[in-house]
């Protein structure tokens, strides 16, 4: 395969018809008084790259460990490939794990580390050698076969851990923050490689991360978790474009919130009175019509800044309080009355006039970009 495969909107597959790789039904797990998982249910499809995303302590790693058999649920059912896995011990499950700390065997060299799983399954030694060599090539670390883990860099260890798991050709590969210990540049490189690898091999990946950008880049679907529960589950873009509540909205990127009261509703749209004046918002087909007090959200990059002064729908006067220049784009902190919010604008044109602090500007919140949150 030539060149990296990027998860563009087109390349993200909707694998709705795919059979289940993993089914979790009502799984709970407590550690003393701490409820790590609270009746979690989800279905992971075969061949998809599924991410469990959430802050630390949200239960994502516990769920991964329960799938791998390294921890047991207090309650609930885990099925792997349609088979009830509750009574199957970790060493017999058709899944393999890439650990956060890599957990390479320090006394074995790279080749023997990768061969470990095959040797445990008593695969003939000649086949072991061939498969290990192939796995090492796959993660581009063939030249390090005789090194000990101590002689490897973080990125190299990460590749070995990946090869050690993949060589067993698991039904599902579990990855527990595999890139967490690497620096940003290497992390981005490996994200692309992981994705390309997953597309080539077609193995189901379950990926645990607390990095929202990583989850967006890699995932076919994401489950956002908080306090042992799944807050929202869906394709990456759906989660970003239509977060259900404040938590999901602010965990996946930045979000501006505007409180308001619904004044009138019509099919597909409603008008709410807010601190910025009346705002028209479009609802999606099937969404219930909102009533009473609502929280509207809008992503900073959807906020438009208009300087021509013409009045229009969903427009309000604001003052530029601060401008943060970050190269490709600028972030503007705006204030309209008591309300503070943020707008991102691309610095696309060399001549684009930059707004200055203290300048008055008209902002527009497009009706199609306003999201109604549940809380």
């Amino acid at each position: 395969m030539k060149g990296p495969v990027l998860a563009t909107a087109e390349s993200r597959r909707v694998l709705e018809d795919a059979p289940s790789a993993i089914e979790i039904e009502g799984v709970s797990r407590s550690f003393g008084d701490f409820k790590a998982l609270d009746a979690v249910s989800l279905r992971i499809r075969q061949g998809e790259l599924f991410s469990l995303l959430g802050p630390s302590g949200c239960g994502k790693t516990t769920l991964l460990r329960i799938i791998g058999g390294l921890d047991l649920a207090d309650d609930g059912v885990v099925r792997i490939g349609g088979v009830d896995a509750r009574a199957i011990p970790a060493h017999k499950r058709p899944v393999n794990t890439v650990f956060q700390s890599y957990a390479l065997f320090p006394h074995l060299n790279v080749r023997d580390n990768v061969a470990f799983g095959l040797r445990m399954k008593k695969v003939p030694e000649r086949e072991v050698a061939a498969r290990v060599a192939r796995a090492l090539e796959l993660v581009q670390i063939g030249g390090f076969a005789d090194r000990k883990p101590l002689q490897l860099s973080g990125g190299q260890k990460q590749r070995v851990a990946l090869a050690r798991a993949l060589v067993n050709e698991p039904q599902v590969l579990l990855l527990d923050e595999p890139l967490g210990a690497l620096d940003l540049k290497l992390r981005k490189e490996l994200q692309v490689e992981l994705l390309s690898l997953q597309r080539r091999l077609g193995i189901t990946f379950v990926f645990v991360t607390h990095d929202q950008e990583e989850a967006l880049v890699l995932s076919d679907r994401i489950a956002v978790m908080r306090a042992g529960r799944i807050e929202q589950l869906g394709p990456a873009h759906a989660l970003y474009e239509r977060p259900r509540n404040r938590f999901v909205g602010s965990f996946l990127g930045e979000v501006n919130l505007v409180e308001g009261t619904v004044e009138r509703t019509a099919p597909g749209e409603f008008v709410a009175v807010t601190a910025l004046g009346p705002l028209r918002a479009e609802t999606r087909p099937g969404d219930p019509a909102p009533y009473g007090k609502v929280t509207l959200a809008i992503r900073p990059e959807k906020v438009r800044m208009v300087t021509d002064g013409t009045p229009g729908e969903n427009r309000a006067q604001a003052t530029v309080e601060a401008v943060i220049y970050i190269g490709s784009e600028s972030h503007y902190q705006l204030r309209a009355g008591e309300l503070r919010f943020t707008a991102y604008a691309m610095n696309a044109r060399a001549t684009s006039r930059e707004l200055r602090e203290g300048e008055r500007v008209q902002v527009e919140l497009p009706a199609s970009a306003l999201i109604v949150l549940e809380d």
């Binding site: 390294l70 060493h91 393999n96 794990t97 700390s101 957990a103 320090p106 399954k121």
Partner: protein, 315 residues
């Protein structure tokens, strides 16, 4: 002109030697002599010189009254190998063999006891851990002889332990549990267990359990997780502890004497006999040197095999 460069201003008038600075060979030698000198002097005075003395004694001849005299001879060594005045007699090779077997047996018994104990202690919560470790070390606070005599009392015909053994059919009514091989090993275990438990515990405490989980994840059952993921991690501590038990146990003779009935001669009492009652210093020196050589040979073999596995040896 402006001020001279700051570095030039700050340079001290007299040159001093600082850490990390390049030294002339002479300065380096002077510093090494200063720092390592006392230790080297100590070792030379109290280990190297006496050892050389023993080597010298072992090739001298015993005089009529036990004095050391010329000529140089390897007679003591051939006698030790079994070629005495009256033809071949394996008495001394057997003594050495017996001592090695006792030491190996002691090491094995200690190992069997230390493994569960080390894992048990490592699994205790913080405070209990400290108490348990203190309990392991407490026997050290008592004199070895007193501890050993205590076992004699506990193994006496009417002692509680003996009666319990009779009750479950392990001993005969009215018979003491000592002298016996069993009593000897109990005494040895009691004396040497801490030497194995402490280094092993330190290793167990440092185990990276995610490596055990990785092994399990890759298809290893409980036994193979232990063999491939746990054992390699505790190996250095385990081997260090085994050496700490094995080496002194080869020279031990007080415990076998007191609990085994003083019927057997071991390296320890053979040496004591030659330097004491028999007044045959050359022969005693030869036994001591051969015993030391055997221990060193063992350590060297261990280091070589460890080296082949890519691990660090003890030598």
């Amino acid at each position: 002109m402006g001020d001279p460069a700051p570095a030039a201003r700050l340079r001290p008038a007299r040159r001093e030697i600082r850490f990390g600075e390049a030294l002339t060979p002479l300065q380096g030698l002077a510093r090494s002599a200063l720092t390592a000198g006392p230790a080297i002097g100590w070792v030379t005075l109290f280990l190297l010189l006496p050892l050389l003395g023993i080597v010298l004694f072992s090739v001298l001849t015993r005089g009529p009254y036990g004095e050391l005299q010329l000529p140089f001879t390897f007679g003591s060594y051939s006698r030790l190998a079994g070629f005495g005045l009256f033809g071949f007699d394996p008495q001394y090779p057997l003594i050495i063999l017996r001592s090695v077997v006792l030491a190996a047996g002691t090491t094995a018994v200690c190992l069997l006891a230390a493994f569960p104990l080390a894992f048990f202690i490592a699994g205790l919560p913080g405070r209990a851990k400290g108490i348990a470790l203190t309990l392991v070390v407490i026997p050290f606070w008592t004199n070895l002889l007193i501890r050993t005599y205590a076992w004699q009392i506990l193994f006496a015909p009417d002692a509680l332990l003996t009666r319990a053994a009779v009750a479950v059919g392990l001993a005969e009514e009215g018979m003491p549990l000592y002298p016996s091989a069993f009593a000897v090993y109990v005494g040895m275990l009691c004396a040497y267990l801490p030497f194995l438990v402490l280094p092993l515990y330190t290793a167990v405490e440092k185990i990276d359990w995610s490596i055990a989980e990785a092994a399990s994840d890759l298809g290893a059952d409980g036994r193979r997780v232990f063999r491939h993921a746990i054992l390699p991690q505790v190996m250095p501590g385990m081997v260090a502890g085994m050496i700490l038990v094995f080496v002194p146990a080869t020279g031990q003779f007080v415990i076998p004497d007191l609990l085994g009935g003083a019927k057997t001669v071991l390296i320890g009492n053979a040496i004591q006999q030659q330097f004491g009652a028999s007044r045959d210093w050359p022969f005693g020196s030869a036994i001591a040197l051969v015993a030391m050589a055997l221990v060193l040979l063992g350590l060297w073999l261990q280091t070589r095999t460890a080296g082949k596995r890519g691990e660090e040896g003890l030598l």
